[in-house]
């Protein structure tokens, strides 16, 4: 077998470009920290968003590889080293999530409402007692947060490291035996339950707890599928990039076609989960669940619909055709959109919730400064909501009540619209009106538009939250550069081809059987 160019060289020019990207990222992070609220929500959400996304992309690369190895898949052996190297980024993710965890312990940020240092949320005697968060406090606390983010990442990284080490050791193994390959198989198979179960908890902690009152049993599936697509689209782009640099000449249209099939299939899977999560919540219409979507559809329509456009419509319509999955240009274009789309998806999952949490925290802190009499309104608000919910349950079967709720929901946009005004113009520190009784506004099924009496309206347009601003794009480029820098430096440490992998022959002769006339018989690459 004559495979040429199997050793990747991380050139100085590429390094300089990537370092430039990282500098841009740091500058944009700093810029977003300067132009920020007092909790530095924009800075911290950017940091959390990108840390979680790129770590999850790395995790899914190794998870998918583990699934492939366990399933005796042969086709992917020629691109195996790409996934192995992507997975090693979890080491950096460990540091990034470590910084978020330090922020939780030191109360450096206000990403997580359950971690508010001043409110004593879980103390039944305190004025800001929150029954819902108190019920989850066994789970939502700094210790468990650290375990579920940093701890779990450490476990995953250990497995990723072991898989890669055994894979490389097989390359230089003197005898014909498959000792190291067999070891790698064991690590891969055991990673499936570990990665599968722990990732759910990881995503609950890192992202879902940004909205601590809300929960969705679909969330971990949904966010994992999203990271999976980020990982697959990154794979497509890396394959095409490496081919353009003269590497991977043995990776053919057929390999790309199969990655493309996964990209298409998992996009549909993601849409299925997206819709499931949406429809179940829409149908059940429980206040504390529905508010999540109500807020996002009303105040973040660009995020909400853009998500579906980039992650469903584009890959579904373009990748549906057989031959499109075999064209490098088309695949790169779709992969770029899908990669950005799922970055957008994570943005959508983190930003609105963290913003609301910061607004609430500010309101509660201000109310606490004023008078105890006012701060108890929060308490009453929650009790009101809870008793209303109980009342509705007792009235179950009353057709009119939900119908009325539906009508109210219809009127809502107008009401909110009327209340909308630029953030700066809202009367600052005005006396809380009757409406403030229902606050914290967003989380408790109250009307989202009603926090108007305090500094910032949850529904108003705010760059960096309502849509990604230039800083966010810059931060993304920075993290992407960091990811690629680490990826390339890992990639050059071993041969691009696992020379003694038992499935290498099969992979080199991989054919999807697709017949594309424009490719001149489709098998020019063999």
């Amino acid at each position: 077998m004559n495979l040429t160019n199997t050793q990747f060289v991380f050139e100085g020019k590429t390094k300089r470009v990537l370092i430039g990207g990282m500098v841009l990222g740091v500058v944009c992070l700093a810029l977003s920290a300067l132009n920020d609220d007092e909790y530095h929500t924009r800075f911290w959400t950017n940091f959390l968003h990108n840390s979680v996304y790129f770590t999850a992309v790395a995790f899914m690369a190794i998870f998918f590889l583990a699934a492939q190895i366990t399933a005796f898949a042969g086709w992917m052996t020629v691109i195996k080293r790409i996934w192995e190297s992507m997975g090693q980024f979890m080491l950096v993710g460990l540091i990034l999530m470590g910084i978020v965890a330090i922020g939780v312990w030191g109360h450096l940020h206000h990403l997580y409402h359950w971690n508010d240092p001043n409110l004593n949320i879980t103390d039944p005697e305190a004025s800001h007692f929150d029954r819902i968060i108190a019920g989850k406090s066994g789970f939502l606390n700094p210790v468990f947060f650290t375990i579920a983010t940093v701890g779990f990442l450490g476990i995953w990284y250990f497995w990723a490291y072991k898989m890669r080490r055994n894979s490389i050791a097989q390359d230089t193994h003197e005898t014909a035996s498959l000792d190291y390959y067999k070891k790698e198989r064991k690590w891969a198979a055991s990673f499936l339950p570990i990665g599968g179960f722990l990732s759910a908890v990881f995503f609950w902690q890192a992202m879902m707890s940004v909205d601590p009152h809300w929960y969705s049993t679909m969330f971990s599936w949904y966010s994992t599928a999203s990271a999976w697509l980020g990982s697959l689209s990154m794979t497509v782009m890396l394959i095409i990039y490496l081919k353009s640099r003269g590497y991977l000449e043995y990776v053919t249209h057929d390999h790309l076609h199969d990655v493309g099939k996964f990209l298409f299939g998992i996009s549909v899977f993601w849409t299925y989960l997206w819709f499931d999560q949406f429809m179940l919540i829409w149908y059940a219409n429980n206040g504390e669940e529905t508010i999540y979507f109500k807020e996002r559809m009303e105040h973040y329509p660009v995020l909400f619909w853009g998500n579906l456009l980039m992650n469903f419509v584009v890959p579904f319509l373009i990748l549906m055709r057989n031959d499109n999955k075999r064209k490098f240009g088309t695949m790169f274009f779709v992969a770029l959109i899908v990669f950005f789309g799922h970055w957008w998806d994570y943005f959508y999952m983190i930003k609105p919730g963290a913003r609301t949490a910061a607004i609430e925290a500010k309101e509660l802190a201000e109310a606490g400064q004023h008078k105890t009499g006012q701060s108890t309104t929060t308490d009453t608000g929650i009790t009101t909501v809870l008793s209303t919910a109980a009342g509705e349950q007792a009235d179950a079967g009353h057709a009119q009540e939900p119908a009325a709720a539906g009508e109210q929901a219809k009127e809502q946009p107008d009401a909110t619209h009327a209340a909308e005004q630029p953030a700066g113009e809202a009367p600052h520190g005005a006396t809380p009106s009757e409406d403030a009784v229902a606050h914290p506004p967003a989380e408790h099924g109250g009307e989202a538009g009603h926090g108007a009496s305090h500094g910032e309206e949850p529904g108003s347009f705010k760059l960096g939250f309502t849509i990604p601003g230039l800083e966010e794009i810059g931060v993304m480029i920075g993290f992407l550069s960091l990811f690629l820098f680490f990826f390339f430096s890992q990639l050059q440490r071993a041969s691009l081809v696992p020379m003694k992998d038992p499935y290498l022959e099969e992979s080199l002769h991989h054919e999807t059987g697709a017949m594309i006339e424009s490719e001149g018989g489709g098998h020019a690459h063999h």
Binding site: F278, M279, Y283, N285, E401, G513, M515, G521, G522, H523
Partner: protein, 176 residues
Amino acid sequence: MAAESKKVLYGLYNDEEDLKGAVKTANAAHLNIMDVFTPFPVHGLDPILGLKESRLHILGFIYGACGATFGFLAMTWIFTSDWPIVFGGKPFWSVPAFIPITFEMTVLFAAWGMTITFYTVCGMWPGVKAKTLDNRITDDKFCIAFDVTGAPDSDVKNLQGFFTNTGASEVNVKMM
């Protein structure tokens, strides 16, 4: 289709690689292959046979689009004008609730439409008598068939020579 009798000369191969090689040789010699039969889909065979990409999936897309439209419009008509019922306080025209049915109608129309089209194009319907060259082509033999109806003996000889040269394990003639 009228029942016309064809004289078919066919050779059986034991391996799909032999078959692929034989097809290439036949192409080079400009022999006019009637058809090739294999027990399973052989990757890479279609292009060397010069078969065109099937257009069935285009029809599949059209059937699916019809199904989606039909499902959605049917739900709309049923729940807004024919028999409006309040479900859980939702508006009569509740798009999210229609999505699953729309999806299912898409799949149903695409699946049935493609199946019926495929069987129609292949001339297969209940009661049709299967024309099989050799029962082993559904088991472990790979077959190349030539239509030699009315062909001169020299051509038949030539084809038999082709089969011998390309490693066919058996050469037979059958009227069908």
